[in-house]
């Protein structure tokens, strides 16, 4: 996708609901996965010959496995309440990015093959056969959904388009039509242990480098241990935390927190990734394989607790799925949540007076917080509903004197996705990512103009990467995106508790 093709949104005071712009994003397609990649994941290498039959058979199989899928395909009343809720529609006007229209791509075929109405009165109920064009639309539009579940929140029946897009992707993979980006990431995670493909030697190098920098900067010897058996805590961070900006500042923050708390910890080279892109594929098998690395690492390293780093979808995979997919976790210390979020960990220390924080260290910033959609709508925190909103804010307030929330319609459970989740964080989808980011940036611009906000904190690796990439395109400063634990890192008074 050439740079000049990008439609750069104008950011104004309000977020208008766009008029329908048919096919606005129809040409923005993910790259298909190459044959070797498909093969390595156990999927057919190219579109199989009898793909129509196979796809319908797979759909039938999934309909028997997931109540959510069948129910959600059945009960939508086309009320239209969700039509203006998806950030990809709001940023583009492409009607197939309205959640119900996105669902309909699958629903039309479902009706044709699995319902009486679709068999006997297809035109009446909008049942359609699975043609090549339809399959191509699936590939396009199910890879323009970040599975953020904003639509589910606003639907009177909780209809969750993420469930449907996961099923669609699973069907497509099963007939040889995988998406390059997500499949590559899953394979890297299987083969090397993390999404970015950082091998153990490099991981050790990076962590040693961070230790040296920290010592130089603070004069204190702060550890970032790798594979240290017998540590109390296994920290599973998104691999971007070892690699990218501003993510790595978050890692430094975790290290300082552990240091000051005096709790021994380690990262694992076997499970050097919190994320679970297999979730985006909808594949239970691959999700199981990715999740099991964490279990294996925890057992091998004989840790007592598992703490997850700042990563949105990883927190969903951990909080909501880990227990189901590779539990029970009865070998860990039951006195702590399993798994625990790094924010829960830090908040707990703050509450017990275990951290010395000086918020004036962040006085050069006025901070707002982007609720990442996966923690917001697909997980919890702190053991009470809404903990995922209160805890990060409470940490930020402990570390910063100036904190401002964005417009109440666009935060907490109503938050927008950053536009890069769900396997969309790839270059060829840039127009989709810009469209998806627009509503969030609009809300951000508002508090920048009205309240002098200078920085936006996030607890998601993808959000951080996505915003860092998109902000320059709308003439905003990419450095304004910060890791939440970067704020902690700035504020923490090392030595104060020694």
């Amino acid at each position: 996708m050439a740079e000049q093709d990008l439609i750069i949104p104008e950011l104004g005071e309000h977020l208008p609901t766009p008029d329908i712009a048919e096919d606005a994003l129809a040409d923005v397609r993910s790259y298909p996965a190459k044959p070797q990649l498909q093969e390595a994941l156990g999927f057919p290498t190219e579109l199989v010959e009898d793909w129509e039959e196979k796809a319908i058979a797979k759909m039938g199989e999934l309909l028997e496995k997931y109540r959510s899928l069948r129910l959600y395909l059945d009960i939508c009343v086309k009320c239209g309440a969700c039509t203006d809720k998806c950030q990809f529609f709001l940023g583009s006007g492409d009607p197939k990015n309205m959640p119900v229209a996105r669902q309909d791509l699958l629903r039309q075929v479902y009706r044709k093959h699995f319902t009486a109405g679709g068999k006997y009165a297809p035109d009446l109920v909008g049942a359609k056969p699975l043609t090549r064009e339809m399959l191509d639309e699936w590939f396009t539009y199910y890879h323009q959904c970040s599975q953020c579940r904003r639509c589910s929140l606003f639907c009177p029946y909780g209809i969750d388009t993420a469930e449907i897009s996961m099923a669609a992707r699973e069907i497509m993979d099963s007939i040889g039509m995988g998406q390059k980006y997500t499949n590559e990431v899953v394979l890297k995670c299987h083969q090397i242990g993390n999404n970015l493909g950082i091998p153990e030697a490099a991981l050790r190098n990076i962590c040693e480098g961070v230790e040296e920098d920290l010592e130089e900067e603070t004069g204190v010897s702060i550890r970032v241990p790798v594979n240290e058996a017998g540590a109390d805590v296994l920290l599973v961070a998104p691999s971007a935390d070892f690699f990218a900006e501003p993510h790595i500042d978050g890692l430094i923050g975790y290290a300082k927190v552990f240091h000051q708390a005096g709790i021994s910890w380690t990262v694992s080279s076997h499970a050097s990734e919190a994320g679970n892109f297999a979730m985006y594929l909808g594949s239970y098998e691959h999700m199981h394989k990715v999740s099991t690395r964490i279990r294996t690492a925890a057992i091998d390293l004989k840790v007592k607790r598992v703490v997850m780093g700042e990563c949105g979808h990883a927190w969903r995979a951990a909080y909501s799925f880990l227990n189901t997919i590779c539990g029970p976790w009865d070998f860990l210390d039951p006195n702590y949540p399993i798994p625990q979020h790094i924010c829960e960990f830090t908040q707990d220390l703050i509450e017990r007076g275990g951290l010395a924080l000086d918020p004036t260290a962040n006085d050069h910033m006025t901070v707002t917080f982007h609720d990442s959609c996966n923690p917001a709508r697909a997980a919890g925190m702190g053991g009470y509903p809404g903990g995922q909103f209160e805890i990060p804010r409470s940490i930020i307030r402990a570390c910063c004197n100036k904190y401002v929330d964005m417009h109440p319609d666009f935060i907490r459970e109503k938050t927008f996705c950053c536009g890069g989740g769900g396997g969309l964080l790839t270059e060829e989808l840039m127009p989709v990512r810009i469209a998806g980011a627009t509503p969030r940036l609009q809300a951000l611009k508002q508090v920048m103009d009205n309240d002098g906000v200078t920085h936006m904190a996030a607890i998601c690796a993808i959000c951080k990467s996505q915003f860092t990439a998109i902000l320059p395109k709308v003439d905003m400063d990419p450095d304004m995106i910060v890791s939440l634990h970067q704020l902690v890192s700035n504020a923490i008074q090392l030595g104060a508790k020694d």
């Binding site: 203006d84 009177p156 909780g158 969750d160 909501s320 949540p337």
Partner: protein
């Protein structure tokens, strides 16, 4: 016994069987489908009773819809609430003696019918003229609204246009229930009203009107947020558990 009476009697037996059998089958089929993962839409209540309350709030107040779109909420709340009233007042055709409170609210029936038409009309206007909703509407979505409005209008016509002998109608239904058929008055509006009601009863289990029992089963709404405390299991977990080395 007129031919008409026989036709309508059979029609209503068939419609009742289809409705009850169809709904029971759908409910049973949803019930037995696995829910292999925790997929509540957060923030969700922490306990199962809390989640049940959330389902109840969705059913009684259309909570999410209120959050989502006030116009749709107003029209559909108006429609559903008045439908409920009308269904209750219609109970009088199926019981003798009539429960006191049912008889008591009977005078509001015409108003409820009008409110029903207003709600449905509002929904239809949105469907026709709001571009996004129009885009996602299929033929059947319009037909459903037409059907419901026609039922209500035919019902109102019996009250305001040409009066029907409702004592006879009641005898007809009580007769159906006791397998002792009684004649049905051959009034135009009554026949239209009843025919359309039978059609509605027959299509209901096969259509989107299924959202009725569906609400109870939506995991986004009915699951408690206890993912870390309670392992959500499906029949295939054991096979996966056996796969791992540790």
């Amino acid at each position: 016994m007129t031919f008409l009476t026989v036709v309508y009697a059979i029609l209503f037996y068939v419609a009742t069987i289809v409705l009850i059998g169809g709904l029971a089958y759908r409910v049973w089929s949803y019930f037995k489908l696995p829910v292999p993962l925790k997929v509540f839409t957060a923030p969700a209540p922490r306990t199962r009773s809390g989640a049940a309350l959330r389902v109840a709030r969705e059913i009684v107040f259309f909570e999410s819809l209120f959050l989502s779109n006030k116009w749709i909420w107003i029209f559909s709340a108006l429609f559903h609430a008045s439908l409920l009233v009308v269904l209750i007042t219609h109970l009088r055709y199926f019981m003798e003696p009539v429960w006191g409170w049912v008889a008591l609210i009977q005078p509001i029936e015409p108003y409820a019918s009008l409110a029903m038409v207003a709600g449905l009309g509002g929904l239809w206007v949105r469907r026709l003229f709001e571009p996004r909703t129009r885009y996602v509407s299929g033929v059947s979505d319009h037909l459903m609204l037409a059907l419901l409005i026609a039922i209500a209008l035919a019902g109102l016509a019996m009250k305001f246009v040409s009066h029907t002998d409702i004592i006879m109608v009641k005898a007809f239904y009580l007769g159906l229930m006791r397998f002792d058929w009684q004649p049905l008055p051959a009034d135009f509006f009554l026949l239209v009203h009843l025919l359309l009601v039978a059609v509605l009863m027959i299509v209901l289990p096969f259509s989107k009107l299924l959202h009725l029992p569906g609400v109870f089963f939506s995991p986004a709404i009915n699951q408690a947020d206890d993912a870390r405390e309670r392992r959500q299991l499906a029949s295939w977990n054991a096979a996966f558990d056996a796969l791992r080395e540790k």
